[in-house]
């Protein structure tokens, strides 16, 4: 489904390695199966040719890796999908890495595929997946080969993609897309329309599954604290495992609050949650509220913009009005 091929990316990487622009490449490395790509650093042309891949399963957002990568010698090449480029800008806004040490190549993205949806559609025991045009040919252990329309198995975050526009790059491969008029707040609205009791029941059910593995936090490009408050015994709120249902709420509320106005809505948190908790619905609530209360704001759309929570106007909404406004049930 992707419009740019892995081959094109490999050639670009080889060119930049060869002409000395960069000395290594951050990319997706082939896995055991057709869908388990791992972010990896390629310094070697052979390795790049053999193991670099780009396909519908390359969801991982590389922006956060740049914090560690830019501390190394030399310049690194990074491929940025549109949503990654927003995180890239947000990290730059917060001075989290040195722009000079990165060569960013923007690439278009047609949306990534959620492997669990593929498994549901094609059955267990996936042996191979081949992308053909806009379809996936899935070979399984127990069933005949199936052709699945990519659109049917898009990751949730890609279904409601906010932008196909790369907002940060040194060079662009393919054509840049547009900011989309997405329906990403529909689910939030649905929740807002529920009664208080229904909402509580919904979130109780979702959050109670949390195992506090911290994957959502550790993958999040906005969560880049040197020391997270939840890991810091001195913070007074540190906790490791969920001992009481309060703790998972505390963790998710505070985490969402800490990234409020900084979250670019890349959707990595929900992608990685082993318990399938729709964490993006927390972040999106903040984004939606911010847009409605203080005017549209897209974190990472540009470098250096002032986040809504470190800003104000003298005639901002009162908290009581805000709660009313954000509560469709009672509005």
């Amino acid at each position: 489904m992707q419009k740019v091929t892995g081959e094109l990316l490999i050639n670009k990487a080889l060119e930049l390695l060869d002409n000395g622009t960069v000395n290594r490449v951050l990319g997706w490395k082939r896995g055991e199966f057709a869908y388990d790509m791992t972010p990896a650093v390629f310094a070697d042309a052979e390795e790049l040719k053999n193991n670099f891949v780009f396909n519908d399963f390359c969801g991982a957002n590389f922006s956060k890796y740049l914090i560690a990568e830019t501390r190394k010698e030399g310049k690194v090449l990074v491929f940025l999908k549109p949503c990654d480029s927003y995180s890239f800008n947000q990290l730059l806004t917060e001075h989290r890495f040195d722009r000079e040490k990165v060569y960013a190549v923007g690439i278009p993205c047609e949306g990534m595929v959620d492997i669990s949806k593929v498994k549901k559609a094609a059955g267990d025991g996936i042996l191979d997946i081949v992308c053909e045009n806009d379809g996936l040919v899935v070979k399984t252990l127990y069933d005949t080969d199936k052709v699945i329309d990519c659109k049917e198995v898009l990751a949730e975050r890609c279904v409601s993609c906010k932008s196909r526009k790369c907002v940060a790059y040194d060079e662009l491969l393919g054509e840049n897309g547009d900011v989309l008029d997405s329906s990403r707040f529909d689910e939030v609205e649905k929740l807002e329309k529920m009664t208080e009791d229904e909402r509580y029941a919904f979130w109780q059910n979702e959050l109670s599954r949390c195992i506090r593995c911290n994957a959502c936090r550790d993958v999040c490009p906005a969560c880049t604290c040197e020391k997270c408050v939840f890991d810091n015994p001195d913070s007074g709120v540190e906790n490791k495992a969920v001992s009481d249902s309060f703790e998972e709420k505390m963790f998710h509320i505070i985490r969402a609050f800490h990234v409020a106005g900084r979250c670019t809505d890349c959707g990595e948190c929900s992608r990685v949650c082993p318990q399938h908790i729709p964490l993006h619905l927390l972040n999106r609530k903040f984004i939606k509220d911010i847009n409605e209360f203080y005017g549209d704001y897209q974190a990472g759309a540009e470098v250096g913009s002032r986040a809504p929570l470190v800003n104000y106007t003298v005639d901002d909404l009162e908290p009581s009005e805000a709660v009313q406004k954000g509560d469709a049930d009672n509005a």
Partner: protein
């Protein structure tokens, strides 16, 4: 004024040093009653109140949390309460989104001259929280008993 019945909700009130804490003092000077279950914590400015403190209070058994600060435009530090306003607008909206009763949280601007407003606010807030009953949705069972 006391709340009817046996159940007395616990209210934590964060008051800024310059306006609201002085407003609470004025309520005392004027002998204006408000429920004893309201306990005040002094902060330099309402903007010192971290959302974590609000959640902490609920965790430890508070039934309602109220923040009081200078009226917008009157902040001793010029802009602190503007940040408070944004932070709490978002936090409270989020709590409501999670199904936590919105009547349990409030921000009220109380100046040093508004002793009567302070007392009235506390009376009214306590009543509103009492009507909800105990905080069950944001409690930590380990802190109960």
């Amino acid at each position: 004024m006391q709340v009817k019945g046996e159940y007395k909700p616990l209210i934590v009130a964060f008051c800024c040093n310059w306006c609201s804490y002085a407003g609470a003092d004025l309520a005392g000077n004027n002998r204006l009653n408000y429920p004893d279950n309201v306990k005040i914590i002094k902060v330099p400015c309402s903007c010192r109140v971290n959302p974590m403190f609000v959640l902490r209070a609920f965790q430890r058994g508070a039934d309602g949390v109220i923040l009081c600060g200078c009226h917008p435009g009157d902040c001793h530090y010029t802009s602190g309460n503007y940040y408070t306003r944004r932070r709490m607008a978002l936090l409270f909206s989020m709590l409501n989104y999670l199904g936590i009763e919105k009547e349990r949280t409030r921000v009220e601007w109380v100046s040093a001259a508004e002793g009567a407003k302070f007392a009235a606010t506390m009376n009214e807030f306590t009543e509103a929280v009492a009507a909800l009953g105990e905080n069950k949705r944001l409690e930590d069972l380990r802190c109960k008993k």
